[in-house]
C-alpha cells in the first residue's frame, strides 16, 4: 500500500543546509545544529515520500515536526517545494512573521504547531486515527528528537499507537545523541532505543539518517495499511556538514559569527 509522493524536483539536502545557514545568520539565531542534522530526512520526506498535492488538501499526508526547534529545516523544504516564497522565508524570526523558531500551524504547509517536546507524537497518533476513521490511505509522519524520548507523554502516545495498530503512523527519531545541555547518554540514557520501541509493539527500522535514498527506500517498504506503527531510528550527526558544529553541544543554541558563517558555507558548498 505504498503511497506515491507527488512528484517534483528532488530536494537537495545541500540546498536545505544552505537555507538553514543563511537564515540563521541573517536572523542571528541558534538551533542550527538541530536543523542541520535533519537535512536529509527533510529531503527524503519532501522530495520523495510525502503525498501532498497541495498543503491545503484535506487528504494529504500529515507531517509533525515534534522537535519543533528545527523548524528552519521545514521552512527550507517548504520553500524548495514552492509553497513558501523567498520573501516570506526572509521574514524568519522577524517581527510579525509566521516563521518563528518553532513552527506555527497558521503557516501554509505546517500541519501542527509544536515547540514543547513530547507533544507531537500524540497529535500525530490522533491524525493517524482520524485517517483510519475517514477510510483514508493518508499517512502521518512525526519527526521526534532522541532527547524528546525523555518525555513521559511521548511514551503514552507510543503505547496508544501500538494498541490501536496505527500502521499509517511513522515516527522518525533524529538520533543525533545530543540535547540542549549535554549528550543523551550522559543526561538520561535512552539505550537501547530500538529495543525500547520494539518492546512497546512498534515495527523498528534503523537507517542512516544522512542517506536520502536509504530513508526513502525504508519508508517505501513499510506496510502502512495494517499492522503495527513504524519507527525509523535515523542515526544522524548533530550539526552535520559543518565541521566545527558537528557533535558540539554549543551549537544547539549558538548563532554564527561572520567568519563561522563563511566557513560553514565553504564546507557546505564543498560537499558533493
Amino acid at each position: 500500500m505504498e503511497r506515491e509522493a507527488v512528484q517534483g524536483p528532488p530536494l537537495s539536502s545541500r540546498q536545505i543546509r544552505r537555507i538553514v545557514l543563511d537564515q540563521s545568520k541573517r536572523a542571528h539565531v541558534g538551533h542550527i545544529g538541530s536543523a542541520l542534522s535533519i537535512a536529509e530526512i527533510m529531503a527524503a520526506l519532501y522530495g520523495h515520500v510525502l503525498h501532498i498535492p497541495d498543503p491545503g488538501d484535506p487528504d494529504r499526508d500529515r507531517f509533525v515536526l515534534s522537535k519543533g526547534h528545527a523548524a528552519l529545516a521545514v521552512y527550507a523544504a517548504l520553500h524548495l517545494k514552492g509553497w513558501l516564497t523567498a520573501e516570506k522565508l526572509n521574514t524568519f524570526c522577524a517581527d510579525g512573521s509566521l516563521l518563528g523558531v518553532h513552527p506555527e500551524h497558521a503557516l501554509r504547509g505546517v500541519d501542527f504547531s509544536t515547540g514543547s517536546l513530547g507533544h507531537g507524537l500524540s497529535m500525530g497518533a490522533g491524525a493517524a486515527l482520524a485517517a483510519r476513521l475517514r477510510h483514508s490511505r493518508r499517512r502521518v509522519f512525526v519527526l521526534v528528537s532522541d532527547a524528546e524520548c525523555n518525555e513521559g507523554s511521548l511514551w503514552e502516545a507510543v503505547m496508544f499507537a501500538a494498541h490501536h495498530r496505527l500502521a499509517n503512523l511513522i515516527a522518525i527519531i533524529d538520533m543525533n545523541g545530543q540535547q540542549a545541555f549535554g549528550y543523551t547518554d550522559q543526561v538520561l540514557s535512552l539505550t537501547p532505543m530500538a529495543a525500547r520501541w520494539r518492546a512497546f509493539g512498534w515495527d523498528v527500522q534503523e537507517v542512516n539518517g544522512h542517506d536520502v535514498a536509504a530513508i526513502t527506500e525504508t519508508i517505501a517498504g513499510l506496510e502502512t495499511a495494517s499492522g503495527p506503527p513504524h519507527v525509523l531510528v535515523a542515526h544522524t550527526v548533530f550539526g552535520k556538514g559543518v565541521s566545527y558544529m558537528e557533535r558540539q553541544i554549543k551549537w544547539h543554541y549558538w548563532p554564527m559569527s561572520d567568519a563561522e558563517y563563511r566557513q560553514a558555507l565553504d564546507e557546505i558548498d564543498a560537499t558533493p
Partner: protein
C-alpha cells in the same frame, strides 16, 4: 450532570458523525450509552490524559469533534499544556469535559478535588468555559455550544437529580441566568453549589432579607455586561463557588467591579486554604469551607451588618 451529558451527546452523535468520545479510563456506569451505541466512535485511551488531549487535537485537525472525558482535576491539570499548545493555540474544536467540580469527590480526598480548574481555564482567552449549575442547564449548555468553533471546557457535576430552583434549565452564552430577584443582597454563583445558594437565599428570605441570585455558567465568554448592570444596583455582592477564591467567578466579578469603577463591595465565598489531610462528604467539606447554605446565611448576615455599620 454527567448522565445528562452522555444522553445529550448520544442524541447529538445520532445526527452528527463528527462527534467522538474519548475517555481517560473514567466514566464507568456513565458513558456506556454512548460506547454501546457508537462503539467505533468511543475510545478509552487509558490512564493517559496528556495523550488523550494530544490525540483529540490530531482528530480535530481532521475535522472531528472529539469530547475528552475525565474527572475535572485530572483532565484540566495534567494535560494543561497540551490543551494550551493543542486546541487553544491551534484553534481546534476539542471539547474537554471535566466531571466533579469542587468537592464532589469528597471522600476520595484532595487529589480528586477540582478547586482551580475553572481559574486556569478562564486564563485562556481562546477557550470557551462552561460550568452549569444543574443537569438541566448542563443539557441546554451542551446543546447551545457543542458546535461552537474552537475548544471548550465543560465543568460538570456528578449529580443528575438536583434541580436549582428558578433556573429552569436556562443557558445562554455570555449571559447570566437570574434565578431569584430581591433588593437587599446580590449573590453570584457558579456550578452545582448553586443549589446551596438557592437554599441560603430562601433561608434569608425567611429573615426578611431578599436576594437577587444569578448563575454564571458561561464563564468565558464572560457575561460582563449582565454582571456590570447587576453590580451597579447593589452595594454588596457575595460570590459563591466550590473553587479557590482566586481565578473563577469571585475574580471575574471583582474584575468587573474594578474595571467599571463600580462601588459594590465583593465578598468572595470559596476555598481559601489548601485542603488538609482530612476528607469527608461533600456536605461536610462545603460546611468546612463556609459553602453550606447555613454557612452562607451566616456570612450574608455578617456582611450585611458590616455594610450597615459602614454606611
Amino acid at each position: 450532570m454527567r448522565g445528562a451529558f452522555t444522553k445529550t451527546l448520544v442524541e447529538l452523535a445520532e445526527r452528527e458523525p463528527r462527534i467522538l468520545l474519548l475517555t481517560g479510563d473514567l466514566g464507568y456506569t456513565v458513558l456506556e450509552p454512548f460506547a454501546e451505541r457508537f462503539p467505533n466512535r468511543f475510545f478509552n485511551v487509558g490512564v493517559a490524559e496528556q495523550n488523550l488531549v494530544g490525540v483529540a487535537t490530531g482528530l480535530a485537525e481532521a475535522g472531528f469533534l472529539p469530547f475528552c472525558y475525565s474527572i475535572a482535576t485530572f483532565i484540566s491539570l495534567r494535560p494543561y499544556e497540551f490543551i494550551r499548545n493543542g486546541p487553544i493555540l491551534q484553534r481546534l474544536p476539542v471539547r474537554i469535559v471535566g466531571v466533579g467540580g469542587g468537592f464532589e469527590y469528597g471522600p476520595a480526598g484532595a487529589t480528586h478535588y477540582a478547586l482551580e480548574d475553572v481559574g486556569i481555564m478562564r486564563l485562556q482567552p481562546g477557550l470557551t468555559v462552561i460550568a452549569p449549575a444543574d443537569h438541566e442547564q448542563a443539557r441546554t449548555a451542551v446543546l447551545a455550544t457543542w458546535e461552537r468553533p474552537g475548544p471548550i471546557y465543560y465543568r460538570l457535576g456528578k449529580d443528575d437529580r438536583t434541580v436549582v430552583t428558578g433556573l429552569g434549565g436556562r443557558f445562554e452564552l455570555g449571559r447570566i441566568q437570574l434565578i431569584h430577584e430581591g433588593a437587599h443582597l446580590l449573590i453570584l454563583t457558579m456550578g452545582s453549589i448553586a443549589s446551596e445558594v438557592a437554599s441560603a437565599a430562601a433561608a434569608l428570605a425567611d429573615r426578611g432579607i431578599s436576594c437577587t441570585v444569578a448563575v454564571v455558567a458561561s464563564v468565558n465568554p464572560a457575561p460582563v455586561e449582565d454582571l456590570a448592570a447587576l453590580l451597579a444596583r447593589f452595594p454588596l455582592a457575595l460570590t459563591v463557588e466550590a473553587h479557590y477564591v482566586s481565578g473563577a467567578v469571585g475574580s471575574l466579578v471583582s474584575e468587573v467591579v474594578a474595571e467599571r469603577g463600580l462601588g459594590c463591595r465583593v465578598v468572595r465565598c470559596g476555598v481559601r486554604t489548601t485542603p488538609g489531610g482530612t476528607s469527608g462528604s461533600q456536605g461536610y467539606l462545603h460546611h468546612s469551607h463556609g459553602l453550606s447554605s447555613n454557612a452562607l446565611v451566616q456570612t450574608a448576615l455578617k456582611e450585611l451588618e458590616v455594610q450597615r455599620a459602614s454606611t
